[in-house]
Amino acid sequence: MAFTLGGRARRLVSATSVHQNGCLHKLQQTGSDRFQLGEAKAIRLLPRRTNMVQELGIGEEFMEGNRETDTSYDFLGEMRQRFMRFKRQKYLPEIEKFQALAIAQSPNVMVIGCADSRVCPSYVLGFQPGEAFTIRNVANLVTPVQNGPTETNSALEFAVTTLQVENIIVMGHSNCGGIAALMSHQNHQGQHSSLVERWVMNGKAAKLRTQLASSHLSFDEQCRNCEKESIKDSVMNLISYSWIRDRVKTGEVKIHGCYYNLSDCSLEKWRLSSDKDNNGFHISDREIWS
């Protein structure tokens, strides 16, 4: 590149509470043109129709941007709307709960979910602030301890040993892009060309089992099966960590798997139970809610 990037983080505005209203108003007037990327005339894509727009009607307030480029949009305005909605509808009405939570969190549950925008565990399973310590990565994968450090297992360690959560839920879902990438990836032996492929190959065992059992099914149906098989593998990988396995054996920690099908809005869930007579584990208490 012929030029050096001189980046600097600039604090633009604080969307703070009402008593700073005067300050906020002033910044609004100068704020909106700061969303140009320096002098380069950024070609902004038109804002997509999000659920926000449908809910608030024609949101003139946040669709209006800098008048110079009619394709810019008001990121700041949108975020402010979103945060104030949370503050009005949740935070202030339950201020006592939030003040208590501000001192300490003690969630009962840890969830490992997918980063997919459609499957936020709080949204789908109804967790409120303070209830669930949440890890989200591509295809909700848990790698075993022998694979070394990942962003997921550092969070696992914190939740289990420090926060002492009592329940771990691995939540997978249908139409998972990560699993689709795993199922369509051809070259297992050679160099993985992309980071996505490299990561989803952690689900290789689930893929092989799926292909063995259901190669006669359509690609989509195989993906559905692989998504479920992958949850099982992630659950088994959880107990490769001694501080999890020990706690599952004593009953201090319970592990659950669940699969959210977003085509028909159904939830299949099961529990991992220890075998009484040996050191193994099995799946129990399977239910489907639809």
């Binding site: 633009l12 969303f35 992309s194 490299r198």
Partner: protein
């Protein structure tokens, strides 16, 4: 206790916890109890927490109040997603972006980890983060990556407390939080004499900036930023004061001057 206001009690508790760190576990247990009491609707018998019942109730409510009342949206989402945002948020149970920023299904591709950190580009170590960013930028074509830090972050507190000298007391936590060591160094250099709590607050914000800078080590992010198809934003949610701050990483090519 009758005359003391709620605010005074909270202030007194905070002060006590700052002075006597070992009481934190006792406080957490009491907080759990109070929260449960506040959430109880009518029944006086205290059932122990049943996760299956909890998620069943949550899911059934979601289906009834959200899924079934918006078939057009969920029908589209079943075909695919096209979120405008990629968000990095902390795994902390109190800061889910769906609550704090009112994200609905389809709005944001969300990665959650300890202290919302983005490690520098590495094909082998922490490939999960790289995979998420690659997927969001190249496949989903998000327009913004927002890294959101927050107050009272346990991960940042760990970063500030651990010596990080190679003698690790944890299996993975120290290895992870040291990603934002530059933030710790900066805060210590600038405010050596400040109270630990203040230093943590500064570090929570500086760590977001370290993550934003690390985002630029991913070739596809750099390309998007230079082309103007991708913007990098930082945020900070303060749940103690009920406020939210937002900022941007800015780049530009200055006007050309003939010299």
């Amino acid at each position: 206790m009758g005359n003391e206001s709620y605010e005074d009690a909270i202030e007194a508790l905070k002060k006590l916890l700052i002075e006597k760190d070992e009481l934190k576990d006792v406080a957490a247990a009491k907080v759990k109890k109070i929260t449960a009491e506040l959430q109880t609707v009518s029944s006086s018998d205290s059932k122990s927490f049943d996760p299956v019942e909890r998620i069943k109730e949550g899911f059934v409510t979601f289906k009834k109040e959200k899924y079934e009342t918006n078939p057009a949206l969920y029908g589209e989402l079943a075909k695919g997603q096209s979120p405008k945002y990629m968000v990095f948020a902390c795994s902390d149970s109190r800061v889910c972006p769906s609550h704090v920023l009112n994200f609905h299904p389809g709005d944001a591709f969300v990665v959650r980890n300890i202290a919302n950190m983005v490690p520098p580009f590495d094909k082998v170590k922490y490939a999960g983060v790289g995979a998420a960013i690659e997927y969001a930028v190249l496949h989903l074509k998000v327009e913004n990556i927002v890294v959101i830090g927050h107050s009272a972050c346990g991960g940042i507190k760990g970063l500030m407390s651990f010596p990080l000298d190679g003698n690790n007391s944890t299996d993975f936590i120290e290895d992870w939080v040291k990603i934002c060591l530059p933030a710790k160094s900066k805060v210590l250099a600038e405010s050596e004499s400040s109270a630990f709590e203040d230093q943590c607050g500064r570090c929570e914000r500086e760590a977001v900036n370290v993550s934003l800078a690390n985002l630029l080590t991913y070739p596809f992010v750099r390309e998007g930023v230079v082309k103007g198809t991708l913007a990098l934003k930082g945020g900070y949610y303060d749940f103690v004061n009920g406020s939210f701050e937002l900022w941007e990483l800015q780049f530009g090519i200055s006007p050309v001057h003939s010299i």
